[in-house]
């Protein structure tokens, strides 16, 4: 058992924390909301310069080939900084779905992602399957040396910003992932902003034709990548929870009613303690899941990730709700960052699987021997 970080990880964490403190926060967040695709070019550029966009690019394709923990450390800082740029949806998740051979083949594309000049998006969810990547009614029909992809995809995060979409589609019993240019004929995109910042789209694919080397991954790489995305999102929301606790304790110290700081009221004191305790428990779950997200043992990985995601879906909601409650009216407004964290934490409970999905998936895994 070694719960220390490597020196590289400490540097990564340190730079992310400093960046979030210096360059991020409510003002930048508001600028980002107004930016094209809710992704501010200055922020994205710095992501690239820090090397964060290459963290999930395999070494074989010239990337950093990092561990999930590396990405989690960055994400936690970004979450604390109220950052909405699509670190997970636009770079980390799509780069993680590539099989090793596909990554080599698409080194140029991944290079562009790493340098920040292109973004991607992964289209796996379908409305009737809710959050389940195994539910895939979209088909890829082999025709000559092409595939024709037909179906619909639901709530594809960051799709409006993506130059290429990575679409899951079924051929018989097998699900493959296909790289589809955004302007491919037959592809229509219904784009929208999402709760808490960022964008998404619903896709309709009508015999969209892609070349046979467009297959970049399969169900296994997709599930592994989604697990990584879930853990990194957990870390990001943990950053938000921590920020909310700090805002709330500050407010309780300074806000006065009845001639005393409201932090002198025992009921509010205990509420803050409950927030703190839940955050520490959540941090333990994030550490646990980070350490197992890259495991080769699929059942172990899924158990760990689903446990953490389900747990944080619950605790993040509690923390967000209490932060607003303890701030009272001012917590309900767009003027304070508290309400914006609240939105992000609510969105987290849906992204990459809600509590119900992850509880069910946890239950479906075989028990480890004890």
């Amino acid at each position: 058992m070694d719960l220390t970080f490597s020196s590289e990880q400490e540097i990564l964490q340190d730079s992310a924390v400093k960046f979030a403190q210096k360059a991020c926060g409510l003002d930048q967040y508001k600028k980002s909301l107004e930016a094209d695709g809710q992704c501010h070019p200055d922020i994205w550029k710095q992501f690239a310069e820090f090397g964060w966009l290459s963290l999930a690019v395999p070494e074989a394709a010239g990337g950093f080939g990092g561990a999930t923990l590396d990405m989690a450390l960055v994400a936690e800082a970004l979450g604390a900084g109220l950052v909405i740029e699509p670190f997970v949806a636009g770079a980390l998740l799509p780069c993680s779905v590539f099989s090793e051979s596909a990554a080599q083949k698409h080194e140029a594309l991944l290079g562009k992602v790493a340098e920040g000049s292109e973004q991607l998006a992964v289209a796996y969810a379908e409305r009737a399957g809710r959050f389940d990547p195994r539910f895939c009614e979209t088909t890829a029909q082999a025709a000559d040396d092409k595939f024709l992809i037909t179906g619909s995809k639901h709530c594809v995060f960051n799709a409006p910003n993506a130059a290429h979409l990575i679409v899951s589609a079924r051929t018989g019993d097998t699900v493959g992932l296909y790289l589809v240019p955004r302007n491919a004929p037959g592809l229509s995109i219904d784009a929208y902003d999402v709760l808490g910042g960022g964008t998404a789209a619903n896709l309709l694919l009508d015999k969209v034709s892609v070349s046979s080397d467009a297959q970049v991954g399969n169900l296994e790489t997709l599930e592994r990548a989604l697990d990584r995305a879930a853990v990194v999102s957990c870390a990001q929301v943990l950053g938000g929870m921590t920020a909310l606790l700090e805002r709330t304790t500050n407010y309780l110290r300074t806000r006065k009613q009845f001639g005393v700081p409201i932090g002198s009221f025992q009921v509010l004191q205990h509420r803050v303690v409950d927030m703190f305790i839940e955050i520490e428990q959540s941090r333990s779950m994030v550490m646990m899941a980070s350490s197992k997200a890259d495991s080769d043992n699929t059942a172990e990985r899924m158990r760990a990730v689903s446990a953490a995601k389900a747990h944080l879906c619950k605790t993040s909601k509690f923390v967000a709700q209490q932060a607003v409650q303890l701030h009272g009216g001012i917590g309900m407004t767009e003027e304070l960052d508290v309400g914006h964290y609240f939105r992000q934490l609510t969105a987290f409970s849906i992204r990459y699987g809600d509590r119900e999905f992850h509880l069910s998936r946890f239950e479906a895994q075989p028990e480890p021997s004890a």
């Binding site: 969810a125 409305r127 009737a128 399957g129 809710r130 959050f131 639901h154 709530c155 219904d190 929208y192 902003d193 999402v194 709760l195 808490g196 998404a200 619903n202 006065k256 009613q257 009845f258 001639g259 409201i262 009221f265 009921v267 509010l268 909601k317 709700q321 607003v324 409650q325 009272g328 009216g329 917590g331 309900m332 407004t333 767009e334 003027e335 309400g339 914006h340 609240f342 939105r343 609510t346 969105a347 409970s349 849906i350 809600d354 509590r355 119900e356 509880l359």
Partner: protein, 385 residues
Amino acid sequence: MNFDYSPEDEAFRDEVRQWMEANVDQRPRGAAPGYRAEKDVQFDWERKLAKKGWLTFAWPKEYGGTGWTATQRDIFETERARAGAPGTSPFGLMMLAPVLMKFGTEEQKKRYLPAIANVEDIWCQGYSEPGSGSDLASLKTTAVRSGDKYIVNGQKIWTTQAHWADKIFCLVRTSNEGAKQKGISFLLFDMNSKGVEVRPIVTIDGHHHLNEVFFTDVEVPVENLVGEEGQGWAIAKYLLTHERTGIAGVADNKAQLAKLKATVARDPVLKEDPHARRRLTELELDLMALEYTNLRTLARMDQGESPGPESSGLKVKGTEWQQAATEAFVEFGGHDAMAWHKQVEGVDPAYQTATARYNFMRAASIYGGSNEIQKNVLAKILIGL
């Protein structure tokens, strides 16, 4: 003992239901609780009710109200919510009006009540201030007597529909002597008075319902004082205890539950899910407990008694239920609840505004006396320390 409605009440329900079915515009409007109707929707509807004579459904007959019993009022609200119509805006009808009936001069009654009943005056409420939330009695907005006028200076906050309102009723400080409660007075004035400025507050649902209202040397005729100087706190307290049955929001909650159940029933995945079913069941049971508690209060009021101890928890439990229900909409919606301020094709209407409603409903346990304050008050009664 029975909870059965009398044949007269059943006939009344039929009448209201038929009228609602004929008169409520069925387009979805996002007019569910916690997500207020647009101004024109709200007041077109109120004018329709006024024409029918039902807008003042909670007023006694002597003031042109319906004179309905508490049970009839509840039936009316239940049918109104069931039909998907918005609740009436409370500030004039439910808050100022009973205050004027009790404390107002004949002149004040004549001047203000008909304009409320005819939807001519839209009112807002000036209570909270930036430094005076839970500790309302510490409010600082001053009204200084100067000849036949008060000169009002200060700031109010969280003022719902101030940007729509013609008039405001305000708690103001007319004295700094003695207990802080004793220096508070209840004042009415026009929102278009010189020196009144309204600034919007956008809430975490992304909408503009609330406002800050600034007063700079606003001149208010002394005849706009309700009751006497220093009586403002007593008036505010009277208002708090005056109407307790609406507070649990049972009528709208029942409509919400029906909507939630219908939504799950047509959701191909959730309708087979035992955990979603169980969540509906738990919401339903909690709402039954709230509903029958409310009926107990109605039955007392119909007998001319005051609400009993059962009514004390209605606000706490009612708002907790509303929050739990809006949370369920978001979770059932899942990806369909993610779209922000956009109607996305193919999304069930129930999920369309789910997140905005969930976000805004967090206010329910804050406004009107936070749930923590409610419990402080109840603790005083129970323990008496």
